[in-house]
Symmetry: D2
Subunit: 337 residues, 4 copies
């Protein structure tokens, strides 16, 4: 940690900061410049309430040297985390595609989709039973009935399932049905929900918040891991910018940044990012070429009549075609699909 | 609602959209341009899953004519909502200032602050018992012990109290202690928490999400009101932009925009928006002059040793001085403080 | 064009708007809803100062039906524009890679880079002679001497050259040397510079502004085309967001959006977008897989001693390796490189 | 300057960085932590191409201690700059209001506005003769004829005048007519235009770019001052965010941030920031209360027929009323208007 003193800081203020740092167990190294003094402090900032220092008189700024996350970062674990769910492995050489409708509407419809995405090569079936909708008047999901339909589709197809939880009170219920618990973008900093998901044994798919930095996203993963659950899958789904041609701006540069900073796998959701089915295929290809560990894609047998997110859903036939087109790209970057 | 057909839409596609709209109870008015056709549809879009239309072949775009919120907007209620908490009224001619520390640390400290902010003219005492912290290693609040300290300070000073709730499971507990329930920026779209807060009888201070549009913020208020609680106080606390000189960018234009679109009161939080105590006073003044109904300001007797948000906290003496300086500005815009 | 009248608009105000539209040559179609009236207006909005309508009493909003650009869009030209510079074609089946240093530093250095990027497969040599630097104290470029060095490198290698112009007064000079004129991100809305570049016969590489929407970018292209130069190459180079892990956020979704809206070719600049050489290769691959028509990449023989943008520059050997790795990805999307 | 070495940096790499810094005239102070090494370097970073260091092997990051601007900052000049234009002073106790139409349309109209804004208390008359329009088909201004009309209005009223220049080739012409040269938001990083404006003797009103940080804005001012013109007036006019209820987001926190970092005066443009006349008055009041040195406001005698920016223009009567309402707010913050 580096403490930058303001140009008007007195020698006494510098001494006070050094004394405080010593009390807190840091070794200090002041550097006296012509205009400003800076103090290097050696020790683990994460154990410290840094504001005890940053609020002291004469302190201008505090520059962290180490990242704020420990468990989600590479300091303690350099090798990539591979998450195993039965025979499906996320984070290794084989790309994993999750597919299915935004919301579960009824059993027949959902099962039909499940069969088709499986045929096309998806390994995991997605579907929403608890839906976080921006309008209180919109369809909110089938809740436990939806979970039962998912479980039945898993039974019928052998696919693993992933579904979202939106309330701490439902974590136990949802995790009793699902193979992967999804935390949605709007709940990325719902810290209690993170902790609750962290107390289960199920892998967690953690979507990046709409305006979350990658560091904050990794800190949200840190919450889950610190609560005891090391199986976190990061999911980039678009961030909010001024651009309006797409619903959000898909940040594919998050892939190499995450790979540099963390050992956790990262998958991409081009459906929510763009909000338009016609942009899904090109960005799915781009995501794989950039190095993603997988994709999560909305597929609906009849997008025109979907209760949710129809405009961004692919028909099963388009999805099957996309899966074929992804194959040579996966190969080109040393992966299988 | 206006449906814009793409330039390549066929006459049959136009007819199909018209037929579907009729089935859904809309009256339709097609307008045939040289290149594109648009269809005007009269009826209440809010009762409709608009995707049933936007997904139809040939449809390019759908332009809503009415706002998506009903209860939070001015369509059904033009007069400003004034929220009464005992003798404190929020939304009327008298500005309401809420003040106190980020987190409740101990009873003596908190009571000292309470007494001082009351002397300075604050009407409501703020304090955090459940803290949503970006790091799992940071101080998370005293929880129910904190609520008890708040209640004791209310007892001692007569101030009303406001505190945040971060988990649906705690809403009942928190509302049994507090006068105003706060929903923080990171939970603005935690819809279950909104609904739970909406089921209580306590006014709700709803902070704007870090990257929420004003329309989404009003939709979050709609959730609370639709759940049965009409007493929502909007709180602008800065939005996320590329600027780094302040923690967030305080959007004071939200004040006249909200006043135009809604009957709900709006208060401003310059402490969280800027993250720096030295910017709090000028922006508090700016907020009042722009037409805010009140302020929420962090005050701590010893910012250098605060467990949370010290850098943005005013000392009680600075706060008292600010309250004095706000008086003539309040008068200039026809308000009292 | 659709005119939405406010809910309080009088019948007289509606009539006035209709009358004004008729005077301006529009055919009008009013639709009277229960709460609001909307007026459909048929005619070419682009010929109209729309504010003459939007400012009229009772008008709430004006919704354009047609895009504001004509020449850059697909309305008048559906087939992709292929720009030919000698035997290099941009916008067709063969991907075009432009490579070279940020700034031209000296002849030997530049020629060495030129030879190496040519060997690796680049078709166009980039280099900066006039540099737009954020600091007045930074190296501003060799100016005409730099252009001469570029021309010599073209002579020696047969590569085409692209270089930036930053001042209307230099357009003639720059276009007398270069094969492609570059307009930088910071000048995307320097309309006089666009017009001046539009008056030359040289293709223009138009970088997207740091906070420009895709529509504004196409309007900037419209300026160039309207001035008489139809050969515009769009270049996405990252937009400004709150994320700080990369210098800007590369918006690869701009590729399919541009392909949908325009006939112009689009190339991607991963070097400026990320600001870090280690992120360049993965995003170059992602760009090609997403459908880009080419890339522009910074290459420097000795990044550690580059006068400009060293941290984002690839060494020639890394660049050569990347070019090889791009081949199978290009093939996977039906292109050659 | 602090150099942070990566955790994998070798001792040799640390030594090399120290050696290079010494060669460049810096005194170095290495601090060896358990995981990372940092090197403090004393000397003037601004004289250095910092990339010579940041590109060296083993270097992770470089943290500047000093601001990149010198002349625009407070290091060399702590007292506020007061710019005198005849008897008008900008930056002192008296607030300065600039008012007038977006574009100069004809002499009669402009003169009428001039007379009225003067009566209301404006000191400076604004008007556009060269207009930077996003569409090549929009009205581009009367050019020199517009300047002549402005000069005539100055003659008739005694008001000072401010107008924009958009092309380096017009700087001499514009400065021969105007009292203040305006550099628009889209040209904030048109560095040649900044230099050219810096070579005149006329004060420069420098608008903040749509997505410019305050630091970049001050660096743009640095360009002007470094070119020999110390009279720069900063103008905040809204930044680009995701919010769509206003055209841009007015960043009033820029006022105290600029006052902290710079000696230059700052004025606020609520008209362009909001794009809606009804939001202009509340934000003008907010700006004054926050500490602005002045305002620039669009006023048009007949907004419904304005050729440019009508929706955000105040009628002269509304402007006169606003000027009265600003008086007590100015007084409350110790200023006159």
């Amino acid at each position: 940690m580096i403490i930058i003193m303001s140009s008007s800081a007195t020698r006494e203020q510098v001494d006070n900061v050094e004394r405080k740092l010593s009390e807190l167990g840091f070794k200090t190294h002041p550097i006296f410049g012509d205009i400003k003094t800076v103090i290097g402090a050696i020790g683990d900032k994460r154990l410290l309430n840094t504001q005890l220092i940053s609020n002291m008189p004469g302190v201008e700024n505090l520059v962290p040297i180490m990242k704020p996350y420990k468990l989600a970062g590479k300091e303690l674990k350099q090798t990539p985390t591979i998450i195993e769910i039965g025979d499906v492995k996320i984070g290794g050489d084989e790309l994993v595609v999750m597919a299915g409708p935004c919301a579960i509407e009824n059993e027949a419809n959902f099962l039909e989709t499940a069969v088709k995405v499986k045929e096309a090569g998806a390994k995991i079936l997605r579907g929403g039973a608890f839906k976080p909708r921006t309008s209180p008047y919109a369809f909110q999901g089938l809740e436990e009935d939806g979970l039962k339909i998912m479980a039945a589709a898993r039974e019928a197809t052998g696919l693993k399932i992933v579904t979202e939880v939106v309330d701490t009170r439902d974590v136990e219920l949802v995790s009793s049905y699902t193979d992967i618990i999804q935390i949605g973008a709007r709940n990325m900093q719902n810290f209690r929900l993170l902790q609750e998901a962290g107390s289960t044994q199920k892998p967690v798919l953690l979507k990046r918040g709409l305006s979350a930095t990658i560091e904050e996203w990794l800190m949200a993963a840190e919450y889950i891991i610190a609560a005891g659950n090391k199986d976190v899958i990061l999911c980039e789904r678009g961030i909010r910018t001024f651009e309006t041609a797409t619903r959000n701006t898909l940040d594919l540069s998050a892939i190499p940044v995450v790979k540099e900073a963390s050992h956790l796998p990262i998958v991409i959701d081009p459906s929510h990012a763009t909000g338009a089915w016609k942009y899904v295929a090109p960005l799915a290809k781009g995501a794989i070429a950039t190095g993603a560990d997988g994709l999560i894609i909305e597929v609906h047998p009849d997008p025109a009549n979907a209760l949710c997110d129809g405009p961004q859903s692919l028909r099963p036939s388009k999805f099957a075609q996309l899966m074929k087109e992804l194959e040579p790209i996966a190969m080109a970057v040393g992966k299988k699909i």
